[in-house]
Amino acid sequence: MNQSQFLKTLKPKFKEFKVSLYLLKRNRLTKIAYYGVILLMLIAIIVPILLPSSKHVNQDTHPEDKLLEPSLQHPFGTDELGRDILKRVLIGTKISLKTALIAVGTALLIGVPLGAIAGFFGGIIDEIIMRFTDIFLGFPPLLLAIAIASFLGPSLKNAMLAIAVSWWPWYARIIRGQAVTIKERQFVKAAKAIGAPSSKIIFKHIIPNCVAPLIVQASMDIGSVILTIASLSFLGLGAQAPAPEWGLMVSTSRNYFLNAWWYSIFPGLAIFFTVLAFNLLGDGLREILDPKTRKN
């Protein structure tokens, strides 16, 4: 396939994407969330470049300016070491978005192949894999992540791993449900008939055709994953001091917040608005991609 041909095959997909985007922006709340998410991504990318001191954000201490109230110079106030909270909150955006993306990506990497294999082969393999997912879903949400993160030892990397391990069963379930119907379709049967190996059928025919529900689920999950990372960090199981991670900042602020309300309020608001934006966007996405609620 040469390049122009490849672009041609992409064209209808691109058009579909534009239609979805239009539908997405018709709902006012979803539209706001959509721009909010874009803004967050821009902050995550640009702030570390723009702020020359971002690398030294942890060393940038001014003990004489500690716990200052919000002012023009420090719109969010300063923390116990005199660091500017606004700066730290802005830089924290990158940490939260990056870790959430990696965690969801890892969960997809585990869940998607397992779900596809279960759905495609059926029978005993299906039974084993799906009972395995049932076991993982037997833990209340967050609990498994807490347990894994505390056993692995506290670090942001382990928190991401812990979240991925507790999240993959959801993706495996979705993919399996899709794969069970897709494997009955003509093109899969044709591929089987010409003797394509199972691995090729799974990765070239089944998984690419399950992408839509996966995107919806994954984008809805980003919000809860960001919240989970913040919660783990709050418990001391995620990012470690002096990282400007939001959950960790709220956790440190516990010693000071009664006399310095700004210290805990602003990082917490950052978590809230970020998670809210992703959740609203996910809600909107589900509404337009679900034929039941999709209007015209």
Partner: protein, 336 residues
């Protein structure tokens, strides 16, 4: 239906044993040496070796696992590395305050969430509906540990209306004899007829309970709304309305009854969420429950304690889901 319930129970047992296996092996990937923790930071190598044998950590993994399982059947969850107390005894002491909180916030979730979802579905796309949708998405987006601090700021620091934490005021602890019958402070104080303790215990409970209830309220409202949206467009509701039945009767009796299946499932789910959310909040309110217990256990790497709480929470979650599924299966409409 009997075979379905039997199958469901078997699946529950399978999940339960899987959970036990996973918890056991997870605890074994821990990089730190539990024996060294057991004897403390200033122990000699000799003492550590002795503790390793004492704790059975020198045996091969499958032997350790076998021992763990047999002691589990005896109701023995091991001994805490930190306090050297049996975990089961500690859990029993820390459990009632947590259950009290969970029950109170689940109760709030039902009495606020269900009417909110119901009215929101009935007045779709009106002001109340927008509010309900925003509230339900908002409440699941809030970092609840932050909500806890925020409420403390407002009600303790700024308004001075409610206590910052703990279960009872120190003054009350000094002045009165604290009742111990069931471990539930509210019930115990009522049993003793001590209204002063009851009032104080209740005042201490408001902030943590409200914090924890936010999430399930949103969840219940949202699910009730979506279940009712479908039901309200059904013919029998139109028929009931065209007979001129009172709106209240149509909504609360005919429509709500049909959404009970959804509500029960959501409640089981939300109790699970609530239980884990106490892990994040209890320590902030110095609430003496298993949430505070696991928070300290996590910080001190007390792995038998973490395992114990994990197993307990997973068991109750599995049980709740099982009960919810069985209740739904008893519904004559889904009976096969």
């Amino acid at each position: 239906m009997k075979s379905y319930i039997l199958k469901r129970i078997l699946l529950g047992l399978l999940v339960l044993s899987g959970v036990i296996v996973i918890t056991f092996f997870l605890a074994r990937i821990m990089p730190s040496n539990p024996a060294a923790q057991w004897v403390g930071p200033r122990a000699t190598q000799e003492q550590i070796d002795k503790a390793t044998i004492e704790l059975g950590l020198d045996k091969p993994l499958h032997v350790q696992f076998g021992k763990y399982i047999t002691s589990l059947f005896k109701g023995d969850l091991g001994v805490s590395l930190r306090s050297k107390q049996p975990i089961i005894k500690e859990l029993k002491a820390y459990l009632p305050p947590t259950i009290e909180l969970v029950i109170l916030s689940t109760f709030m979730a039902v009495i606020i969430g269900v009417p909110l979802g119901l009215n929101s579905a009935n007045k779709k796309d009106q002001v109340l509906d927008h509010f309900c949708r925003f509230f339900s998405v908002g409440s699941v987006s809030l970092p609840i540990f932050w909500v806890a601090l925020f409420l403390q700021l407002i009600f303790f620091r700024w308004l001075g209306a409610l206590p910052i934490g703990g279960q009872l005021d120190t003054k009350i602890r000094l002045l009165y004899e604290i009742p111990h019958h069931t471990g539930f402070m509210l019930i115990d104080s009522l049993l003793d007829g001590n209204l002063i303790i009851f009032k104080d215990a209740f005042r201490h409970m408001i902030l943590p309970a409200v914090t924890i209830a936010l999430y399930p309220i949103g969840l219940v409202a949202r699910m009730t709304r979506s279940a009712l949206l479908e039901i309200l467009s059904e013919d029998y509701i139109k028929a009931a309305r065209s007979y001129g039945l009172k709106e209240r009767l149509v909504l609360w009796k005919y429509a709500l009854k049909n959404s009970l299946g959804t509500t029960i499932t959501v409640l089981a789910l939300s109790i699970g969420y609530t239980l884990v959310n106490t892990f994040l909040v209890e320590a902030i309110f110095s609430w003496p429950g298993i949430g505070s217990y696991i928070a300290t256990a996590v910080m001190s790497l007390d792995y038998p304690a973490i395992m114990g709480v994990t197993l307990f929470s997973a068991c109750s979650y599995i049980l709740l889901n099982l009960i919810a599924d069985i209740i739904i299966a008893l519904d004559p409409r889904v009976r096969v």
